[in-house]
């Protein structure tokens, strides 16, 4: 974890020093006759998910994502768009149900080359999440409700924070491909769909922030390490105009790790929570 934190600090300082102020033009909020779909942007996300067991019932949810966006000058992987730090303390209610509560700090980078506004601004969130899992034949299906309270600001100097709530539901399945169940050394495929709704004073009409449809191929290396990669199509109303939809294709690369920092004697008995 230390390595990650160091990187984040280093990156933040680097980008701040290269700050070029740009001013984002304000668009008129007039609904078009027909829904307009912007050209899809392409993004590459590198996501790490840490799930660090700290006690019998509690874990530390530590996620760091590096999100790159394509621009005209930087095709394909693009340039860094956001660095995303999501942390929470999770509570294991049962093997199949857990809850989390925590905060997010996201560093947003201005990717608009023409912009003279600030290059990087922080974004703050409080989030809580309710996750339910169900076995289904050899597969597992998951329901995730995630609620975020979000404070964002534009890149303009002295721009005000705006507050929004996000309502997210995700349905995901993990289907083992090379085994009869999800165990180490198993390749699995994971289709998922997430609908992100938003609300807030600033949100006028654009309630569907994002609909994400993803297919991921994963490999369980060990009980504590899983690697996955997937392709996500997403679309959603832009905040400026509910009639205009942004689209995107995102390649996502995931590293899931779950160390257990408890002393050996506390690990026993393993995780038999209900026993």
């Amino acid at each position: 974890m230390k390595v990650y934190c160091k990187n984040i600090v280093w990156l933040s300082v680097a980008f701040l020093s290269c700050f070029l102020s740009t001013i984002l033009a304000q668009e008129a909020e007039v609904l078009p006759e027909e829904s307009e779909f912007k050209d899809p942007s392409t993004r590459v996300w590198f996501n790490t998910y840490g799930n660090i067991r700290i006690s019998k019932r509690l874990f530390w949810d530590a996620q760091t994502h590096f999100r790159f966006e394509e621009t005209e000058d930087t095709p394909f992987i693009g340039q860094i768009g956001q660095i995303y730090n999501r942390h929470a303390i999770g509570y294991i209610y049962s093997k199949k149900v857990n809850f989390s509560l925590g905060g997010v700090v996201r560093i947003n980078f201005n990717t608009d080359e023409n912009s003279t506004a600030r290059n990087v601004v922080p974004e703050w969130r409080i989030w809580h999440q309710y996750q339910f899992a169900q076995p289904l034949y050899s597969a597992m299906i998951y329901h995730r409700i995630r609620i975020e309270h979000r404070w964002t600001q534009g890149f303009e100097e002295n721009s005000e924070y705006i507050f929004r709530n996000r309502w997210r539901y995700m349905f995901r399945a993990k289907v083992p491909l090379t085994n009869h169940k999800l165990v180490p050394k198993t390749l699995y495929v994971s289709p998922e769909a997430e609908l992100i709704m938003q609300s807030g004073k600033e949100v006028v009409g654009s309630v569907m922030e994002d609909l994400r449809l993803t297919t991921t191929l994963g490999y369980i290396v060990t009980p504590r390490l899983t690697l996955a990669a997937g392709l996500m199509y997403s679309q959603g109303q832009t905040i400026e105009n509910a009639g205009i939809f942004k689209q995107g294709w995102t390649m996502r690369f995931h590293v899931y790790f779950s160390p257990d920092i408890r002393k050996v004697k506390n690990k026993l008995p393993a995780i038999h929570l209900d026993d």
Partner: protein, 672 residues
């Protein structure tokens, strides 16, 4: 015995230190005089002092209450005065039966002197009591022996009677034995009478105790005389007896004895008579009723003589005297008879050991030679050893000089002495001749002690040589049987091993096949080596070694067959169920991977490799031990704190180091 008993009463007398005495001669003489004076006066006092004793006392096997007087003279206990020892136990009588006795008489200067009475009772009781005149009266049933008479300085004098009566309900039921003998100073005189088992023997002695005239035995039921011995001045001329309604006459010393000796009429005399009697097969003198009566009488006298000898000085045994001719034996002959004894003992030992050998009994059925030699041993035993024993018994009893040697030889070999060559019946009923070693050197045709010695010598030599031949045969036969038994075991063990190798290999992964092949080839090689060996002790040893080795190989086979299952067990054992938060399920996580890895990737392959390359009888046990103990250790280490061990195991590839780290070395001590 009496010495020890009264030690407490002895008076110790100390002489003055010798060094001081040697100072001056005059002083020495003075001290000596004083010492003598003191000693004499104490002796005088001791002489005069008669002490009474009233307590329990053991006399031979008799233990009872004693009441007597004695005095101590020069540290010796001298019985003097009335003596009584008795025992009776009412408790024993009432519960089962009682043995009672009473010895009563008088001692004078340690010699029984005067009237003596001996009683021995053996009674049961019906436990019915009566009270009469302030006394409890109890009826008893049993037998009572009683002896009474006068003793003069320990020797019977006057009439002695010994009776044995059967008592029934405290009344005399039957006289079982009664002897009345008149003595004068221990020598039987005049006539005597012995009643025994329904017979009455009467006879008489001369004044010097020599048997004389007719000794006649009547039966109480029969008017006829049963047996009659005719003596003349102690010389037994003939015996007449009526056996099975037939009168027999046995002539003995018919003519006057010129050079005679006087001996006691006892068993030995009868032995002499049995040689002398002309008609050997007519009568066995030991069955003679007169002899039986005399023997019974001697028994009773012996019993009392035993008691009196224990107490003091006595010569109670009645010496019935007879006269026999004397055939002197010179010192050479006597020495020869001593040699005969040694030879006889050796021969007897050999023949008995051979004749009692079950192995030989079996062998002689199969082996013609063994059968022949066995028959020879039987013949030697009958024709040499037994008769020699008979002759020897005369020497042992010291009566050889009272029998003519040619008659003794005739007595011992009634069918004539055997020759050095003799015939035995072979296995197929054919006649076979045996001739012992150095047969030509032996000539025992003459009837003398030298011949007897030669016979004894020849018998021993023959038996010795036979024993050698038979022992070789027996040892060989025994060894062959051992080999057969051993080989049966080896083959059974090899079969078991091969069965296991075949049946267990079916379920095993290929990598174990080489080990199995090695086990099989090692077993085969050892078996081949065994079969090529000569039948020696080394082969037996190696065979026993192989039985153990194959047994161990079989255990190794089974251990190897278990190995895949064992590895699975270990694999499952070294797993922790952990919760995967991303999958929301339980996954098994391998733990202590360095241990399992060392086990799976180094240790087990190493052990298999050792089996494949260097398996032999010498290390099979060690390999079995390592395999089994490794598994055991793996099971144990799962629950132990192994963090240090795991650190040490990092990248360790040396199986020997791993064996050491796993603490298996103590088991695989022979690891080179």
């Amino acid at each position: 015995m009496t010495d020890n008993m009264f030690k407490g009463f002895s008076v110790p007398i100390y002489f003055t230190d010798k060094r001081k005495m040697s100072n001056t001669l005059t002083k020495n003489l003075l001290v000596r005089r004083i010492a003598i004076l003191v000693f004499t006066s104490f002796s005088m006092i001791a002489h005069c002092q008669v002490i009474s004793y009233m307590d329990s006392l053991n006399v031979g096997k008799y233990k009872g209450m004693a009441d007597f007087q004695y005095k101590v003279v020069e540290n010796d206990t001298i019985l003097d005065g009335p003596f009584q020892l008795q025992r009776s136990n009412l408790g024993a009588l009432l519960s089962k039966s009682d043995y009672s006795f009473l010895f009563k008489g008088v001692f004078k200067e340690n010699y029984p002197n005067g009237y003596w009475k001996f009683q021995f009772g053996e009674f049961q009781s019906d436990s019915i009591t009566q009270v009469l005149d302030y006394q409890y009266i109890l009826n008893i049933t049993g037998t009572q022996e009683e002896a009474e008479g006068i003793l003069d300085n320990g020797k019977p004098d006057g009439i002695w009677t010994i009776t044995k009566n059967r008592i029934k309900d405290s009344e005399l039921d039957e006289v079982l034995f009664k002897s009345t003998i008149d003595f004068e100073n221990g020598v039987p005189q005049k006539s005597f009478r012995i009643e025994n088992e329904g017979t009455i023997l009467v006879g008489r002695f001369l004044r010097n105790g020599l048997a004389h005239d007719e000794w006649t035995l009547y039966s109480e039921d029969d008017i006829d005389v049963v047996e009659r011995w005719y003596f003349k001045d102690g010389r037994l001329e003939k015996i007449e007896l009526n056996a099975d309604g037939e009168n027999k006459e046995i002539n003995l010393y018919q003519s006057r004895i010129l050079d005679g000796r006087i001996i006691t009429l006892d068993d030995n005399y009868l032995k002499i008579l049995s040689v002398i009697q002309q008609s050997v097969d007519t009568f066995d003198l030991s069955q003679s009723p007169i002899n039986k009566s005399l023997a019974a009488n001697a028994g009773y006298y012996g019993k009392i003589d035993g008691i009196l000898s224990e107490l003091g000085e006595s010569a109670f045994y009645p010496e019935f005297k007879v006269k026999v001719p004397y055939h002197p034996i010179d010192s050479l002959e006597s020495a020869q008879m001593d040699s005969v004894k040694t030879l006889y003992q050796k021969s007897k030992l050999i023949s008995e050991s051979l004749l009692n050998d079950t192995q030989l009994t079996i062998l002689k059925m199969a082996d013609e030679d063994a059968h022949f030699l066995h028959s020879v041993v039987v013949a030697i035993s009958e024709n040499f050893v037994h008769p020699l024993g008979d002759v020897l018994s005369y020497h042992e009893s010291n009566i050889l000089q009272y029998v003519p040697i040619n008659e003794l030889i005739e007595h011992a070999w009634p069918n004539g002495k055997p020759s050095t060559e003799f015939v035995v019946i072979g296995q197929k009923n054919e006649n076979k001749i045996f001739k012992g070693p150095q047969a030509s050197d032996f000539d025992f045709t003459q009837n003398n002690i030298a011949s007897i010695y030669k016979m004894a010598h020849y018998a021993t030599l023959s038996l010795d040589s036979i024993q050698q031949v038979l022992n070789d045969k027996l040892t060989k036969d025994k060894r062959q049987q051992e080999f057969i038994a051993l080989e049966e075991r080896i083959i059974a063990q090899v079969n078991q091993l091969n069965n296991d190798l075949d049946s267990l290999s079916d379920k095993l992964p290929l990598k174990y096949m080489k080990s199995f092949e090695k086990i099989k080839s090692t077993a085969d090689q050892n078996l081949t080596r065994y079969s090529k060996m000569e039948e020696t002790k080394a082969k037996t040893k190696f065979g026993r070694h192989l039985v153990r080795c194959f047994e161990s190989m079989d255990i190794l086979t089974k251990a190897l067959a278990q190995q895949p299952d064992r590895m699975q067990v270990i694999k499952e054992k070294y797993q922790d169920a952990i919760w995967n938060p991303f999958m929301a399920n339980i996954m098994n996580e391998e733990v202590k991977k360095r241990i399992t890895s060392a086990y799976q990737r180094v240790l087990i392959p190493h052990l298999l490799d050792r089996v494949e390359t260097e398996l032999d009888c010498d290390n099979v046990d060690e390999l079995v031990g390592l395999l089994n103990n490794t598994h055991q250790r793996m099971l144990e280490m799962r629950d132990e704190d192994t963090s240090r061990l795991e650190r040490k195991l990092k990248r360790e590839q040396d199986p020997l180091v791993i064996i050491q780290l796993f603490n298996l070395e103590s088991i695989g001590k022979t690891e080179k």
